[in-house]
Symmetry: C2
Subunit: 410 residues, 2 copies
């Protein structure tokens, strides 16, 4: 082909990192998305995402790492287990992570993309324009489940063990929390009731905290996923505070109750995710193909913060292959899939593992980490490399072997 032109459906992190990578290599790219930057900035909280350093390294290589980690980043994971004898311990990253509200992040990268010659089309896609769209591009990349493309990719049963959400989510951006020292994400577990992931996050008002409450269906915290803020903000706040005090006390202790509130009334997201892996390519006929990235390909529960990082990774692998290839067919997709599969599946399996009641060996690992900083550092570092984490956790024998190895080193 004379000059490649790639059509990208969706302006999430996958679509934007891909588009920016393609522009960096002089490949024509058009992103079609429903919301313009102003609409994104004004929308309800879409998610609460932390970028691990592997993702920040991609931003650096694209020249779009606009929020320096020295100011907005964090270096640690603080673990808290709300057991009769509470366990509290921390692990460090070798390089900092960072959380930025995607209503701030995505518009800025859309601007970068446009400034670098990328084309943005703000509109919905009608089902009957698929053939016309396919004809415009050499390859269509689908980075959103919305619209007619999102429904084309079939779930892969082998990698999709659940048919309903495993956690009832209540996610909000809150003011009024004292930062941890050192700066870090808190991973608090209330056995039988769920997890709280507290992520320091940059948003419109400056530094806030994303409180991601992952509530076990049937547990004491599940009601938070249905409690309406708009009906009675004070009741909502009081209920959240009471639940935090009981189930996630290390986070509760950092709250200044006078300032504790959602940053904005619509900075709240409630619901649930059905973890699903889908087939990654669809034949559009006439020699054209659509390939999936991000959540359309593999959607995970947010409990260990892998979704956006995997979406960026997966888009990156795809982008590198697009740059190298001039044939976008089944063999191309097979190659892309083979390259990204280990990490994508690693993230999916590790996440699903964390949603299940822990096996005794994992409880042993938690105990060992509480007494072995190097082991906890490795566990923390592996948030960047989910395939390595999964290679450690996939079977009871693997976990035992990891603990034994770490003990021998200590």
């Amino acid at each position: 082909m004379d000059k490649k032109h790639i059509g990208i459906i969706g302006a999430g992190v996958a679509g934007l990192h891909l588009g920016l990578l393609l522009r960096q290599h002089g490949v024509d790219a058009t992103i079609i998305t429903e919301r313009n930057p102003d609409e994104i900035a004004g929308m309800r909280l879409p998610n609460t995402v932390a970028h691990h350093y592997v993702t920040l390294d991609r931003e650096r290589s694209l020249g779009v790492c606009h929020w320096p980690v020295e100011e907005y980043g964090y270096s640690h994971h603080h673990h808290y287990f709300n057991t009769p004898q509470p366990l509290a311990f921390s692990g460090g990253f070798t390089s900092m992570s960072r959380g930025v509200d995607y209503r701030v992040y995505l518009p800025r990268l859309m601007q970068d993309f446009a400034e670098r010659g990328g084309t943005l089309e703000y509109r919905a896609i009608a089902a009957d324009e698929l053939p016309k769209l396919a004809a415009r591009f050499d390859l269509i990349v689908v980075g959103t489940g919305r619209g007619p493309f999102g429904q084309m990719f079939e779930p892969v049963a082998e990698h999709s063990p659940f048919n309903r959400p495993q956690r009832a989510l209540c996610v909000g951006l809150y003011t009024g929390l004292r930062p941890t020292d050192p700066p870090g994400v808190t991973l608090s577990v209330s056995p039988g009731h769920g997890e709280l992931i507290d992520i320091p996050m940059l948003s419109f008002s400056g530094k806030v905290d994303a409180l991601l409450l992952e509530n076990v269906p049937g547990g004491d915290l599940e009601e938070l996923a249905r409690l309406r803020y708009d009906d009675d903000p004070k009741k909502f706040r009081m209920t959240v505070l009471a639940k935090l005090e009981k189930h996630h006390p290390s986070v509760y202790d950092r709250i200044d109750q006078a300032r504790f509130d959602l940053q904005q009334p619509h900075d709240l997201l409630q619901g649930g995710v059905v973890p699903t892996v889908r087939r990654t390519s669809v034949d559009l006929g006439d020699g054209k193909i659509a390939i999936a990235v991000g959540d359309v390909h593999s959607v995970v529960d947010p409990v260990i913060g892998q979704g956006a990082n995997i979406a960026s990774y997966s888009a990156w692998v795809l982008g590198e292959e697009i740059v190298k290839s001039n044939q976008f067919d089944a063999l191309f997709c097979e190659r892309v899939d083979r390259k990204r599969e280990e990490r994508v599946l690693g993230a999916q399996r590790w996440t699903n593992f964390m949603l299940m009641p822990p096996n005794p060996e994992f409880l042993g690992l938690v105990g060992a980490m509480s007494a072995n900083r190097a082991l906890c550092d490795e566990f923390t570092e592996n948030f960047n490399y989910p395939e390595r984490q999964w290679a450690r956790l996939a079977t009871p024998a693997r976990i035992k072997s990891w603990v034994a190895e770490a003990s021998a080193r200590a």
Copy 2:
């Protein structure tokens, strides 16, 4: 585990390269095989194998490249198409290939393996000793279809399009052929009737020629796969000569009829191969697993000489992972498969493509190669990298794109 011990069933090229690699890394390895070196040396011709330089590089790294390419190797592929206007052209390798009779090759490597601390057990395996064998080793590698292990791996329908051989083979080691200049393999095609692969080969009597006649079922050459040498050696010779003269004249022209004969009466192999890809691992229970290498995993028709090279490659990938791992489970096998899959499938698909009637684009490629040495060199070089060759040949669009690219460079 304290010290790994790997059990290898079968002493083919995969089993031996794997065993030698493991010993190089201090890993305990036992090869169980039915024939001892003397029995192998005395057996009927088992195959006619050329090692491409990627395989020779593995031998060099193991210190078992005992037959220097300067003396026994070859540098070229000589193509001949027996069309009304015959086409003859050659392509060169960047590094030499070499053919050694496996009845010479395997016994020497068995000796290397034993000298380096590997254990060889010469015996058949009874079906009822599988649990006992599994208990002896941390992992069982199956490198032979013989015996009870060989039947455990199920064919993968998606990658196994045939249910019968696509060529009727008549393979022999012959004396009486003048070498090509420069030394090379001849790939002669008689459209509609089949191929002849003439490989310079080192055997017991010195340099001989492997004539691998790949005969299309129903064509004029098919009878060679059934013609018995022992019944009437002279008639066999005369029939082969007549067929070569008619269908593969560039090889026929190099024959000294007075000396033309099989090196030994049993240096002849007739039959056929059903190209098949099989599942690569089997759960043996009690936390033990068996993993396949070589023909048990993926068996190809010998028409483009990929089988042994892929077997060695596949064993090498497995060996590197064995050295790195201490967990031999489903995730381990998945990782090995992912690493070796592109090349293994590339060899299988490319081979199967060569057995089918050529598409017009491939005929165009042949014509282009006859006029473009650089293009033919690339085609030749890719015998080392079947995944690259397949990426060039997988679709008519890919072939056209390759030819266009090569023409633009020329």
